[in-house]
Symmetry: C2
Subunit: 225 residues, 2 copies
DNA sequence: TGTACATCAGTGAACGCGCGTTCACTGATGTAC
DNA sequence: TGTACATCAGTGAACGCGCGTTCACTGATGTAC
């Protein structure tokens, strides 16, 4: 009896394994991050998002305070995956080619045609900017991390200048992606993609007098960003 | 009696002046274009949009086939205003300073903080890209007009190259604006605005070896784009 | 000039629907003994 | 090992609300005579 009470004070007994709920939670977030990137921050309902995770809508509020809370988590998840992906590309690329490689893997038709697995900024940023301060600030914090991650891959430039270049690079990449998607997936869209790519690459390599007419290597096989 | 029938065949008698309905229609479109830029393509209801025009929601379908039809018209209106504005700036600016002037009047805190009177691309493009093909294509057509209008202001460059530069310039400007809005309206946001501006201006003046450290003239007084 | 009247821009109640959220419940889990 | 039971992740019906759309109507307009 004493032992029983003691256990209780140390926390309730675990009927399900400790990780079970966390795994479910993570699964919802992961699936939602795809769907929200595909359909927009207001484009999918709670019921559909739960169905994607193999659940029914009733259980939603055992995992999240509100739909908005899931949007924040799903967005943060997508941004972390992109940032991580850039870091991985950087690891396996020589310093002077890192930014170029990141840009060339970003501005591809594959990325344009698969927003669900791509960068969250082109799909969600404009909507998020209109959301509550809480949501907007969560997004802004992730954006800042992304800027830092890209700035860290720019060699031989003072920190401040690298940060500035990273900001402009992300702006051009995401703007190009949005315009390319508005234009569809034909010639006009490809033209935009190419224009954006060449512009970033020209700005990204000023020490070398902006040559390199974009060898346009075959895009990375995965569209993930 | 003959005269009466004859008049009928030539069109029904006008009980209200011919322009009355057209004026109302135009007023709805104009007001809606502001609200939709502020709140997003799905952010305002038909009732609110009609109230903005001083009407009630019941009359809406006498003017538009559907809410989507208004979105298309309102968006087209906003894009035309921006394009026209760029042409006017160009008219009263020497050829070699036209793009610079347009960019500097676009990437301002005033424009960032007043999306309702600003360029429709940063606020609506990402959402429109997910809309029906009809809506998306209407947007794409207006985007192409905008690209042409900007390309026409780039001197001493072949048509194709000018078009390419115009695409990249618009992508960077609109991407910068989206990121700046996500970042709020403080230092971080101003930093993004500055980074975007300097990047476009560096790319926009390659014949002159990209000097001109941005004299950052006082922004145009109006935020309209 | 004055009266009757046809038109139709605009009104406001009502519709069906989908959404975010709540809640009483179920049934699988694994502990207590 | 076997049985009783407390827990709680997940279920599904129900809620209130706002939305896009419809529709019978109203009343200002200006024409016909």
């Amino acid at each position: 009896m004493l032992l029983y009470d003691c256990k209780h004070l140390m926390g309730p007994p675990m009927r399900y394994s400790k990780e079970h709920k966390l795994e479910t939670h993570a699964r919802i977030v992961k699936k939602a991050s795809v769907r929200l990137r595909e359909k927009g921050a207001h484009g999918v309902g709670v019921a559909d998002l739960m169905k994607d995770a193999g659940l029914t809508h009733g259980g939603f509020y055992a995992h999240f305070d509100s739909r908005e809370a899931l949007v924040i988590e799903a967005f943060a998840y997508a941004m972390d995956r992109s940032t991580e992906r850039w870091r991985k590309i950087a690891e396996q690329t020589p310093p002077d080619k890192r930014v170029t490689t990141i840009v060339e893997s970003y501005l591809t038709p594959e990325h344009r045609d698969d927003p669900g697995r791509g960068c969250a900024i082109p799909t969600l940023a404009a909507e998020i900017a209109r959301e509550s301060p809480k949501t907007r600030k969560a997004f802004a914090a992730k954006l800042e991390q992304m800027i830092d991650a890209l700035a860290a891959q720019i060699p031989d430039v003072p920190r401040k200048a690298a940060r500035k270049q990273a900001m402009a690079t992300i702006a051009t990449m995401m703007g190009t992606m949005v315009l390319a998607r508005v234009a569809g997936n034909g010639d006009f869209s490809d033209e935009i993609l190419g224009a954006g790519r060449d512009a970033v690459l020209a700005g990204a390599t000023p020490p070398k007098r902006a040559a390199k007419k974009s060898a346009l290597r075959k895009a990375a096989t995965s569209a993930r960003h």
